[in-house]
Symmetry: none
Subunit: 485 residues, 2 copies
């Protein structure tokens, strides 16, 4: 691929709003000047395309273009025909790939570090930050039994239902209804994990503006960013909870179309909202007219099979509700679901169709069998009991090994808690040192936080490891923290 | 489940720790008083059960109970025998659900008619337009055998590979390489049918402008439209082929970032490009600097295991290549793949991750087994032989039953051909009359065409029906056309 053809990634700028209500030409000019003066604008860099600025700042094409033209006149930028605006100076040499011919470049995204990390797992490492359940606790034998039964009886369906295998949707609706969450199978859409549910909802959004927690579920954040949505991160302190007066101000300013909220055992903080907080959020959604999608992934990981009223119950069917079986049964089954409502159902199914048409019926039929036989409930009871033991062992270990000024939350269930370190501990360096000692710590704060992190910690997953391994990992971690302090 | 058993949701409270190391009775009392004073403790609400507080706060049963008893004594709570502690006062009436309140509107898309049609299939109808293979020809028994084998041996993997099950990627790369399409497993991404492959590619596009055939693959067209991309439809006449001088002008004007082209047995026309046309398209892609994604879904449906050099071979790895097993094995398996290149691979995997994270490993492992045992090749040979018979029978029937001025193409393979009717036949009306006679004809030209259709016909699928049924369906259709002329 010749250098001339390669697509040049463009800078992302922070543009601050001046005194006026919306962004102006001067705000952009000031932002570029500021970056330039601070030396963070390397010669040859490509500026954000005009349409990106338009979208990002909600301004007209003219405003963006006239800002750039002013900067060209000042001599800061140059306009390269059809290729966009660049910082004046030598073009950086692009060393692109393989083949010979002038290959058009397709990519628009800058690669986040998420992909390789999610995929590569090292077997010898104690992974302290997994949100997954220890594979040893998963009911593989019974799942295999149900697969065999489905292969014998109903067999392999040639056709598929884009909405999801109908008997499975019925079972899901029944289970939700028993939890006080009145649901009809027609409103249930089976998805490829909860990730697809979130993707479907973002696809049908009227305005491409969304709010979510900060820190956020990392791959949700990546989804919003790849889809070039405006995202506002609402600060969540896992110790004190959300400051809803701050949230209110941010929402009033950003006017998101949707709030994506993980109501139980939020990933990565492990936080669960109080009922009072959820009720205030419903009020906010009515005041500022945004929709809500509630991610309830953690509810089945609660002990005692008790439950708290989800947002869907408090807010009615304006709240879209999503949940998943992947964390409780077997991640590789990839089955989640979205509870929609009559007004959004068809659009959401269409959104699923354009993305994947449908998901493998055989897996959905197997899960249906697994639930219908009562295996799922029996499994959940056993799983919850074991997770309770691990949870308490984790708290005990933390109390006995951690230095005095390390804090952690006690989420009471779910797979993770938040471990907050003293500000003087450099998390990146600690993470790197842990790797050398065979312990994986998630130190990629940029994957969770919007802007500068207000926390200096990480999630600890106590569901993924046998107690002895978890203890050893935490001991190594505590020793590492002591060295950093 | 009886009504009496239905669970009453309980509040979640925030309890802050006082000065002591662990939670005390007073902490709970203070938390309830605080919520009560702020008016956020609705009368009649259920308090968290004692055992939940125990678990959540790591306290004894006594501590929790004595806190509640103190609040009962204060008159804040009441203890309802066997049902738990409740906030004093009448049970709050739940005013939640459905419509009523100002429900924020989420939807941005206008609903295309595709969704219901794809989903609803009537068993008694002769479906003349299906692109699917007759379920009777699909190797369900052998697929079940491979599922069982995988469940026995490698079992159910807990983890998943976002790129796709590695041994399957290796087999796919080997098969492609044998076809002259040099491929490496690292560049293969397994997808949920070819639909997901197309979705991934559109997600990473630098500019949201795409070109495709007119008429287009319907759900691809819907995907582009839902994603609010600029789409240019390049007119394809299934009898004459594409007029590439017209395409050139349209491309020069629209400057698409991507051309999505179905190179063999295009859906809906059944058209396959000549090698000369493909080479001209490669030249156009270099001149106008657009990428190409080649959909090769039909190649395995060619008899004689012949193949034409796909665009990927002619154009090098600048061409992304996609294919699918769904049309040949079992639609409900939903397995396709994308052959990327080193420059785009990571971005495309990330695009898959934000959409679905990964697909069910068990299905990918089963397919791997199916191919490795040689079942796939044996099945293809048998399938191709049978499809050849049906194809020829279809052509014979058409020749014997159709009026003189009806024309059809002879694609030479694949599941569909194009049937073109005289201009005076009203396709919509014909479609409606056919339904009455138990024959389904796809008359939704708007799903395929951009703007005013330049054709007045529909696709005929000869792979989905046994010869006798197809013949009956075509006879009914011919009679209907005669009535219209």
């Amino acid at each position: 691929m010749a250098g001339s053809v390669a697509k040049v990634p463009y800078l992302r700028l922070r543009v601050d709003r001046g005194s006026s209500v919306s962004f102006t030409r001067l705000d952009i000019v000031a932002a570029v000047r500021r970056e330039h003066e601070s030396g963070r604008l390397p010669a040859g860099s490509r500026m954000p395309p005009v349409r990106v600025l338009q979208h990002q700042l909600g301004i007209s094409k003219n405003t963006a273009q006239s800002a750039y033209e002013e900067l060209v006149a000042e001599g800061l930028l140059v306009n390269r025909e059809r290729r966009g605006y660049f910082v004046r100076g030598a073009t950086r040499q692009k060393s692109s790939t393989s083949s010979g011919a002038a290959a058009p470049a397709l990519l628009r995204i800058s690669l986040a570090a998420v992909a390789p990390q999610v995929r590569a797992r090292c077997a010898d490492t104690i992974d302290l930050c997994s949100v997954f359940i220890d594979p040893e606790l998963l009911p593989r034998r019974k799942l295999a039994e149900c697969f065999r039964s489905v292969l014998r009886s109903r067999g392999l369906h040639a056709a598929y239902d884009a909405q999801g295998f109908a008997p499975l949707r019925t079972l899901i609706a029944q289970r939700l209804t028993r939890r006080g969450l009145s649901a009809h199978a027609d409103d249930v859409i089976v998805t490829t994990g909860s990730q697809q549910a979130l993707d479907m909802v973002t696809r049908v959004l009227e305005r491409r503006a969304v709010a979510t927690e900060n820190p956020a579920y990392g791959i949700g954040k990546l989804l919003f960013e790849m889809n070039q949505m405006q995202v506002v991160g609402l600060p969540l302190d896992p110790f004190a909870g959300p400051d809803l007066s701050v949230w209110r101000k941010m929402i009033a300013f950003a006017r998101p179309a949707l709030l994506y909220l993980t109501t139980t055992f939020q990933n990565p903080t492990g936080y669960s909202y109080t009922t009072a907080e959820l009720m205030q959020l419903i009020e906010l959604s009515r005041e500022f007219r945004f929709g809500i999608v509630e991610d309830d992934w953690g509810s089945d990981m609660l002990s005692f099979s008790e439950f708290r009223p989800p947002l869907r119950v408090l807010g009615g069917d304006n709240v879209l509700y999503m949940n998943s079986f992947t964390k409780k049964l077997l991640p590789s089954l990839r089955i989640g679901y979205l509870l929609a409502n009559p007004a959004t159902r068809e659009a959401l199914i269409t959104a699923k169709q354009v993305a994947t048409l449908a998901n493998p019926t055989i897996v959905e039929a197997m899960l249906c069998e697994f639930i219908a036989r009562g295996y799922y409930d029996a499994h959940l009871r056993a799983l919850q009991a074991e997770l309770d033991v691990r949870y308490r062992a984790c708290l005990d270990t933390l109390a006995s090994v951690m230095p005095a000024d390390v804090r952690w939350t006690a989420p009471g269930g779910g797979p993770v808690l938040w471990l907050e370190l003293p500000g003087r501990v450099d998390l990146q360096r600690l993470g790197a040192r842990m790797v050398e000692k065979g312990v994986r710590l998630d130190a990629r704060l940029a994957a969770w936080f919007f802007g500068e992190p207000h926390l200096n910690g990480t999630r600890i997953g106590y569901a993924g490891l046998p107690a002895a391994q978890l203890q050893r990992g935490l001991e190594v971690l505590a020793a590492g923290i002591r060295e950093e302090i």
